[in-house]
């Protein structure tokens, strides 16, 4: 509803820091620009504001910290404009579709796609995140058509996301706009971000901006935490599942002065019930304990200086395996099979920004992490310690006053030092990657955005490589946005850290080459058509993406009966992803989303071009969301239809090479009741109680040659009822 198309014209600045802000508000009617007397103007988040006079002119006093001006006028789409120190602003609002009815109790669309961004980006905000139990990031995508979430193995509870049908490692995971949760944190990283702490998640598919590095191949997922200077003062969430899992999330923000604010976050979860519904002797879900503490600070000066810093500590323990396994048992084949993973992680991050003048601004983003991991899978020991440092300096140059040409350039640095040990073998990683980048954006008008970026990175072992990326957005006619993108991406996989779940088999891992550089091109095209049908919004989205690998780490479970080979690609590897999505408010306040995607993912495994194992051939999604007139009740229903796919053939496997897994359906439902300061929710995950048959192969003899808990294609946990409460208090 509040989607925004804007044309921002900037008149010549007279001084660097003018006071107050002046400007005029216009609207478009019958393709003519008209003044909007009475339009309201306010700083985002502030309650006071002003109203434009009969000529559409306004004057508003500067706000200490907020730089975003919100313009609204009845019958027009509200617009938010960043004030960059211009003396005069000219804002043009677009006519709303539904002119006659002004209903303010409107629904907050949980997901929307930004229109001006040349990179097709889905914004998932707090409203969407409340549609599911949403305890951590891995559960935040249940209502999303683009992201698949699947289990890695049947024992550790590790989950991964898939974008465009490819493994999560090929999409760049970011928090607060910097790459994060790499290396040792890859496997469990999604469960390290509590959903209730999040302000929003951004998902972009295809080539990403070069500013954030060379790593994103299939896309980017960025999680933004709630900010200390936001409206929310206090949040408390308590969650419990029928099987005995409890989670607590809370955050408090304090405004120490007009410029300084801080926020404290805590997350705790505990699950200690040994449950084995399928009676295979193995726990369905690992026993888990996690604590996560987070403190962030924000400072904004009136002279365009911004500082944002934070510190995280995370500790977790997972125990899985046989029901009879107990912590501390001697690791011998005479004791029950057990898996234990312990993680301790510290993170410090810092972001600083300074607007030198209306033309130049600089930003510096940095984070440092320390990760300590200890684990064993049956008789396999695996441990690691990792230190990382990331720094990115970005200079933004607005070349002209009209914002037509912008140049983002800068330098980045990655340091990654890790010492891992697998049984008796040591694996050492020492990566340093300095890099340079530049990205040019052209916005000749509201109908076209063009972006071209190039970066060069100097990897200590892999040498120099270049990352070119291109994006174009065109609005050929009203309400239709067309985007194309092409770009290259690279990765140096941390082979053991990213595949440690493969230790939950009897086969040994054979790493053919210690270090490789994965390399791929991604091309994509998407069309979004937004239109009003019967006064309610309808979105039609069609997308196609292709990823072409020239080098890749291939997990080959099919060549050898006794080993899993981790080898560089020898041949072709590609992924085609076709997706259609329709969103419509079919009846007032009843939103539906239907989506269908075909994943055509193929890889050369053992000399043969095969469909990627354990990947569904298609996926369909259907979601329903209904709320009553005043949004006091909310009902959500989601159904995922997953197509079947190929199971990895194994030479010793008597079923033969081309065995398939079946199509399956997973349904979730939730009811939320809102009160003034709190809400309660009750829901069920996996309503049909569909679980994969025999998630643990050879469960009777876990130390024997047939044991394998890593051939996972479907849900390993059955129906789960849950309930929770959220309490929210806002600042005055």
């Amino acid at each position: 509803m509040k989607r925004v198309i804007l044309l921002l014209l900037v008149f010549l600045p007279f001084s660097v820091f003018p006071n107050p802000v002046k400007g005029r508000v216009f609207g478009i009617e019958d393709n003519l620009k008209i003044v909007l007397p009475g339009a309201s103007v306010s700083w985002a988040g502030a309650s006071a504001g002003t109203i434009a006079d009969k000529d559409g002119a306004f004057t508003i006093e500067l706000h200490q910290s907020v730089k975003l001006l919100v313009f609204s006028f009845v019958g027009y789409q509200s617009d938010t404009v960043k004030w960059n120190g211009e003396e005069k602003l000219e804002v043009v609002l677009q006519r709303n579709q539904e002119l006659d009815e002004v209903t303010v109790v409107q629904k907050n669309k949980g997901t929307y796609i930004s229109k001006m961004n040349p990179i097709g980006t889905q914004h998932i905000n707090g409203a969407e995140l409340q549609k599911a139990a949403c305890c951590n990031l891995s559960e935040s995508f249940t209502t999303n058509a683009s992201v698949d979430v699947s289990y890695q193995d049947a024992i550790t509870g590790a989950k991964q996301i898939k974008l465009l049908g490819l493994d999560g490692i090929y999409s760049q995971m970011q928090t607060e706009n910097f790459p994060n949760l790499r290396g040792l944190a890859t496997i469990y990283g999604l469960t390290y971000i509590p959903g209730p702490w999040l302000e929003s998640i951004h998902v972009s598919k295809g080539a990403a901006s070069v500013v954030n590095g060379y790593e994103s191949i299939t896309g980017q997922i960025n999680a933004s935490f709630k900010k200390p200077d936001a409206y929310e003062a206090f949040h408390f969430n308590l969650f419990g599942s029928a099987e005995g899992k409890t989670e607590v999330n809370s955050n408090v923000s304090l405004k120490l002065s007009d410029r300084t604010s801080t926020a404290f976050f805590i997350h705790g979860e505990n699950f200690q019930n040994r449950i084995d519904h399928n009676h295979d002797g193995f726990l369905d879900e690992p026993l888990m304990k996690q604590i996560h503490l987070f403190n962030q600070w924000k400072y904004t000066s009136e002279k365009g200086f911004m500082l944002h810093a934070g510190v995280h500590y995370l500790g977790e323990q997972r125990i899985g395996g046989r029901v009879s396994f107990r912590e501390g048992m001697a690791r011998t084949a005479s004791n029950p099979y057990g898996v234990e993973v312990k993680n301790d992680r510290f993170e410090l991050y810092f972001k600083g920004g300074y607007d030198i003048n209306p033309h130049h601004s600089v930003a510096f983003i940095s984070n440092a992490t320390y990760h300590d991991m200890l684990s064993f899978y049956g008789l396999n020991w695996y441990s690691g310690k990792e230190k990382t440092w990331y720094g990115n300096l970005i200079h933004t140059f607005s070349i002209d006053e009209l914002g037509v040409h912008t140049l983002n350039s800068g330098a980045s640095f990655i340091l990654d030092q890790a010492d891992e040990a697998l049984n008796q073998a040591a694996i050492t990683t020492d990566e340093t990657v300095p890099g340079l980048f530049s990205e040019y954006t052209l916005k000749p008008g509201p109908k076209v955005t063009f972006m071209a970026g190039l970066r060069a990175d100097f990897h200590r072992v892999m040498g120099t490589f270049f990352t070119p990326r291109l994006h174009l957005r065109v609005e050929p006619f009203e309400h239709l946005n067309f985007r194309v993108s092409a770009g290259k991406g690279y990765r140096t996989p941390r082979i053991m850290a990213e595949n440690s779940f493969l230790l939950a088999t009897s086969r040994s891992l054979s790493i053919v080459e210690d270090q490789i550089l994965e390399e791929a091109w991604n091309y994509g095209a998407s069309t979004i058509y937004d239109v009003q049908v019967a006064g309610r919004p309808l979105s039609l989205i069609a997308e196609y993406f292709r990823t072409d690998f020239s080098n890749q780490l291939v997990v080959d479970r099919e060549t050898s009966a006794s080993q899993i080979l981790l080898a560089p690609l020898d041949g072709k590897s590609f992924a085609n992803s076709y997706q259609l999505e329709v969103r419509y408010e079919v009846l007032p306040r009843l939103d539906i989303t239907t989506a269908y995607r075909v994943n055509d993912v193929r890889q050369t495994i053992g000399g043969q071009l095969l469909r990627n194992p354990l990947t569904s051939k298609y996926k369909a999604l259907f979601t329903l969301n209904y709320s009553d007139r005043l949004k006091k009740w909310m009902f959500d229903y989601t159904a995922h239809f997953n197509g079947g796919g190929r199971l990895p053939g194994n030479p010793s496997n008597s079923f033969g090479v081309h065995q398939e897994f079946p199509a399956f359906t997973v349904m979730n439902a939730q009811v939320t009741k809102y009160f003034r300061y709190w809400n309660v929710y009750l829901g069920v995950e996996n309503l049909l109680d569909y679980v994969q048959d025999h998630p643990v192969i050879g469960a009777d003899d876990p130390y024997g040659p047939k044991f394998d808990a890593t051939q996972i294609w479907g849900p390993v946990m059955g129906r789960k009822f849950y309930a929770g409460i959220r309490i929210t208090l806002n600042h005055k």
Binding site: P37, G38, S40, V41, S42, G45, A46, S47, A48, G49, T50, I51, V70, S72, F73, V74, G75, S78, D100, V102, T103, V104, V105, R629, L630, K631, K632, F675, R676
Partner: protein, 111 residues
């Protein structure tokens, strides 16, 4: 017999009264206010406040004419109490007749 008749009629009358009382209690009434919202945020603050007031069934905000229309169950709330709530949030609330409200809405949409 007479007494019984009296008793029956008494109960009948009481019963009818009761039904009537319930009907007025559940009847939806509309009240319109003129206020002084300046921005979209004021609208959001007031929406969040008013929707959880007793008996409130529907809300209609119009920023341009600066009016609020509240539909509520007459037995559960009163214009005075709603006005008090709006004022507590820091905004003006003058009750205006529905005629004037419609007029204001029309006027502002002409602009």
């Amino acid at each position: 017999m007479k007494r019984l008749f009296l008793l029956v009629s008494l109960f009948t009358v009481l019963g009818i009264n009761n039904i009537q009382a319930q009907e007025t209690k559940n009847e939806q009434t509309t009240v319109c206010f003129k206020t002084n919202m300046t921005c979209h945020n004021c609208e959001l603050t007031l929406t969040n406040y008013l929707k959880f007031e007793k008996g409130v069934k529907d809300l209609k905000f119009d920023l341009q004419s600066n009016t609020i229309k509240v539909v509520y169950k007459s037995g559960k709330n009163s214009p005075e109490n709603l006005a008090k709530g709006i004022k507590k949030q820091g905004y003006e609330a003058d009750v205006i007749p529905e005629k004037e409200y419609n007029h204001l809405i029309q006027e502002s949409s002409k602009k």
